[in-house]
Symmetry: C2
Subunit: 304 residues, 2 copies
Amino acid sequence: MLHVTLRQLQVFEAVARHLSFSRAAEELHLTQPAVSMQIKQLEESVGLPLFEQIGKKIFLTDAGKELYHYSRSIAMQLAEAEAVLEEMKGLKRGKLNISVVSTANYFAPQLLALFCQRNQNITLSLNVINREVLINQLANNEMDLGVMGLPPDGLDIDAEPFMENPLVVIASPSHPLALEKNIPLPRLAQETFIVREPGSGTRSAMERFFAQHNLILSTGMEMSTDEAIKQAVQAGMGLGIVSMLTIALELETKRLVVLDVDSFPIRRHWYVVHRKGKRLSVVAQAFKEFLLQEAAQVMQTVKA
Amino acid sequence: MLHVTLRQLQVFEAVARHLSFSRAAEELHLTQPAVSMQIKQLEESVGLPLFEQIGKKIFLTDAGKELYHYSRSIAMQLAEAEAVLEEMKGLKRGKLNISVVSTANYFAPQLLALFCQRNQNITLSLNVINREVLINQLANNEMDLGVMGLPPDGLDIDAEPFMENPLVVIASPSHPLALEKNIPLPRLAQETFIVREPGSGTRSAMERFFAQHNLILSTGMEMSTDEAIKQAVQAGMGLGIVSMLTIALELETKRLVVLDVDSFPIRRHWYVVHRKGKRLSVVAQAFKEFLLQEAAQVMQTVKA
DNA sequence: AGTTACCAATAAGAATTTCTTATGTTGTTT
DNA sequence: AAACAACATAAGAAATTCTTATTGGTAACT
């Protein structure tokens, strides 16, 4: 490999531009011998003379002309790199890789949209995956930030709650319990529940809740999305437990109702998570703070 | 300006590629701490972290990914520059700027063509100009090599003869002297000569020759090209003095004849010239040697 | 848990590179 | 011939880039 230094190329570029060692030295705030030496070394490692002196003036040799071309090109690249990195420091630009758990799909896009609107030039990629995959990504550092309902225990995770995530029992409006008030919790044991697949956050939260209250719930069908559960509940196939945030539309259009069960809603939160010790990029840090400080309020506004 | 070194970028590129400081150190035949330091300095001058360590593995940050892109690009440029310069060293490639005096136009192209044929990848530019302009270019280092009939005295010129350049007297076949033998030189004083413009090499050689032999020649028309002189002589407007090389075609087709005058032909030579002290490029050097060693022979062959 | 292995960070000093000052050489100008 | 302008050269100072030796932290294996 050619043993040229960037310094040599910079000096060379200046000399070639001025066609003068002394002028170049001035421009670079160097002494003239320093320039001479750099050029000499450069010529040495290139193996060809780059300048020729005819009388008082100096000229570029053919080799010099070629190298001048490349020097300028490299200088351009560097300047561009500098500009890009400088922008990244100022949050003006950056990439943000976010993974959210399926359920968050009902509100995350709105938050992301708002954040992007405020901070132009940010390239954002949103990954909607289930809880298990997200935990995997977290372990392998394949994303900047994650949003999930309940951070896992084992791993070293930095998780902070930023918004409420009430789980409620939903039913078709025609369900016998639809109009009742203060339904006692044990009453649910008689009902069939349509649940998410094992590994889902909602599913495990639900199981833990029933276990805590010494209830055995009869699970009917398993569905892999909240959307499917809502459909099944609407069709009268049983009750469901979902995040309040996912059913705004169905409540409004009276396709579903929330049952008034004792001890409900289950009070949970949405967490923004990243692996402990991960150095967040400026953009990621900004988005995290945006979530912590404004997400709850923003979602309220949207709902109203 | 960013104070990055090429070394830093090289080291960074290796680390980014291997995602390991130790592997990069091996590849570069360095110790691991050396790599650590280079990266640290690079991060310092960039102002952003380039890697992040999660557990045992390291990953590129966004800034790192950007810089990686530019590092590779710069490395490519350098490799390309190296290849080009390496080729130039080996004569495989190069540029050659040659200026020839107008008269040389009759043979120079053939020589150049042969040289180019032998050495592919050489970019050649041939400049046909008159003697005065050529001397100017010589002084200003605006060309690699020149070909002229008589090198100027004043300047520091390195001139070497490489081929004969006999000047002969030409006439129309219908001219009274056309068939005479051993025409005495003074006889020419009665004839009218069609000559090149002042400043032309042929013109001054001619004037010097007549002055040496104490003859006053009567010049009729002045023409700025040898081609025009030949036309005029054919038309019977007088005699001409031109280089033998320029009239091969006309002799063959009997449009012109060479007069058998005493002391003729004027024995001159073609010279390859460059400013003294000029560092000839490898290509230029090669062409010069080609002229010195083969030109005469090649032109013989072509004529025959 | 304790041990081992691996990887990167840090510290100190050696080797190398890159500067500056001082001076020499060459070609141009007066 | 002398003065000037421009690059080359030499020697030593300053800065950098290495190496060796050591520390700290994480993961894997008894």
